[in-house]
């Protein structure tokens, strides 16, 4: 069986904007690379930085968080809290030696299928250019 060597990007998408945006991209048949696996969350504010670290720890080559544009949050403020946490996280990951391009956050609305497709394309490209994420030794 051929094991895929394609990089894997874990996407945490808010249900109301970005997940719907990714649906729009699908409905519009906007062809994208196969690297992203989407995990649906209610809001970008639900994304615990620990989830992101867990993904990297388990060998993800990239992590992508996407939510509603600031001021458009379905829950009004969730993405503002997310923005703070993830700003701090972004710098922290970089500090720990995880290349900055491996972790990105984007604001994609339900109607922005085109933008979502572009986010996927460009991030996949950047992560591919970096090569596989360096993995720390584990039992697995």
């Amino acid at each position: 069986m051929a094991t895929s060597q394609e990089p894997v990007i874990v996407g945490f998408l808010c249900n109301w904007c970005s997940y719907a945006g990714a649906d729009s991209a699908g409905t519009g048949r906007m062809v994208q690379p196969t690297n992203v696996r989407i995990i649906r969350v209610p809001c970008s504010g639900r994304v615990n930085p620990r989830f992101i670290l867990r993904a990297f720890q388990r060998g993800a080559d990239g992590v992508l968080v996407s939510g509603c544009h600031p001021n458009d949050c379905h829950y009004s403020t969730g993405n503002f809290f997310a923005r703070r946490r993830l700003l701090l996280l972004k710098r922290y990951l970089e500090y720990l030696g995880i290349e900055p391009a491996r972790f990105e956050t984007h604001w994609v609305s339900a109607s922005e299928g085109q933008k979502w497709a572009e986010v996927v394309r460009s991030m996949a490209e950047r992560v591919k250019a970096l090569g596989p994420s360096p993995k720390l030794p584990s039992l697995l």
Binding site: L53, L87, L96, L136, S138
Partner: protein, 316 residues
């Protein structure tokens, strides 16, 4: 190093006498049923000590080696009605305030004796000195800057911020932006160098949890790192799990760390934990404009936001 760090053993001796009197009074009058302080331990170093009688209060010590923050012991007394006495210096009071802001102990059950601080010495370093030099440091106040606790080097809160009574005079405070030279050094490394640097850190750690257990910002009833469902942290002490441990520990105290450095001090294998905590504090200042991120605030920096926070999307 702040200028106020002129070790004054004589003042401390006076404070010690006043502390014993104060604690004995509180205990004899029944204001408190226990008083949290230090006594002289087996090898001459102070160890945490909990006096319950005026007699025992005489054993309390206050000297340049009382490095241990006592606030965390309050958690052992959460269930109960009795009032607890505690002695704090500047950083000790920050630890206490941390617990108060985290609603982990009721203020009304506390009687806080504050002592302004002229600096503390690193017990391990002092213990390693030849007898004469040790004496000179402890009794003569002649201590090289390197002998002080690391945290004294960046201290901007030598006076207790929480106290019911203060023994001794206020120490002049020097406010200024916190410096993070070691973080700046690491920031200059390449990503690969940084990854390698922190890998050595993960490999060293034996995951004894002393850093977590001593930390005044880590006060959960049951640490999520000890929980099985979900298993936030795997039990294997392999570098990938150590990364997770150190990430979660540091990120959970981000914005709440008081920069006491106790985590690093109690680490038996020398993991430089403040390299992680300091980075987050530095960034909280840079990103969110919190000028003294180590001072407990009414709303934690990550529990709020402003419209003006940096555009995360553009940060890529």
């Amino acid at each position: 190093m702040p200028k106020s760090l002129a070790l004054d053993p004589k003042k401390m001796k006076e404070a010690e006498a006043a502390l014993r009197t104060q604690a004995a009074k509180l205990l004899s009058e029944g204001t408190v049923t226990v008083f949290l302080g230090h006594e002289e331990g087996w090898d001459g170093l102070p160890v945490p000590f909990f006096a319950t009688t005026p007699e025992e209060a005489k054993r309390l010590v206050w000297n340049p080696l009382v490095a241990f923050n006592l606030a965390k012991y309050l958690l052992d007394r959460l269930t109960g009605e009795e009032k607890v006495g505690i002695v704090v210096n500047g950083c000790g009071s920050l630890a206490l305030d941390r617990l108060l802001k985290d609603r982990r102990f009721p203020r009304e059950r506390l009687f806080v004796v504050g002592i302004p601080c002229t600096g503390l010495l690193d017990p391990d370093k002092v213990l390693a000195l030849p007898d004469e030099a040790r004496q000179a440091a402890l009794e003569g106040g002649k201590a090289e800057p390197g002998l002080f606790l690391k945290r004294c080097g960046w201290c901007d809160a030598p006076n207790p911020v929480v106290a019911d009574v203060v023994l001794g005079e206020k120490v002049p405070e020097e406010a200024g932006p916190q410096q993070y030279p070691r973080v700046e050094e690491i920031e200059k490394m390449s990503p690969a160098e940084r990854a390698a640097h922190f890998k050595t850190l993960y490999e060293k750690c034996i995951r004894c949890f002393a850093c977590r257990n001593v930390c005044p910002a880590c006060s959960c009833r049951e640490c999520s790192l000890d929980q099985w469902e979900p298993l936030w942290l795997g039990k294997a002490t392999v570098p990938s799990e150590q990364l997770m441990y150190h990430f979660i520990r540091a990120f959970d105290v981000a914005g709440r760390c008081i920069r006491c450095g106790e985590c690093e001090r109690v680490c038996s294998v020398g993991v430089p934990l403040m390299e992680l905590n300091d980075k987050l504090m530095k960034d909280i200042t840079e990103l969110f404009g919190v000028q003294r991120p180590h001072v407990p605030a009414d709303v934690e920096p990550l529990g709020q936001w402003t419209e003006g926070d940096a555009d995360l999307e553009a940060a890529h």
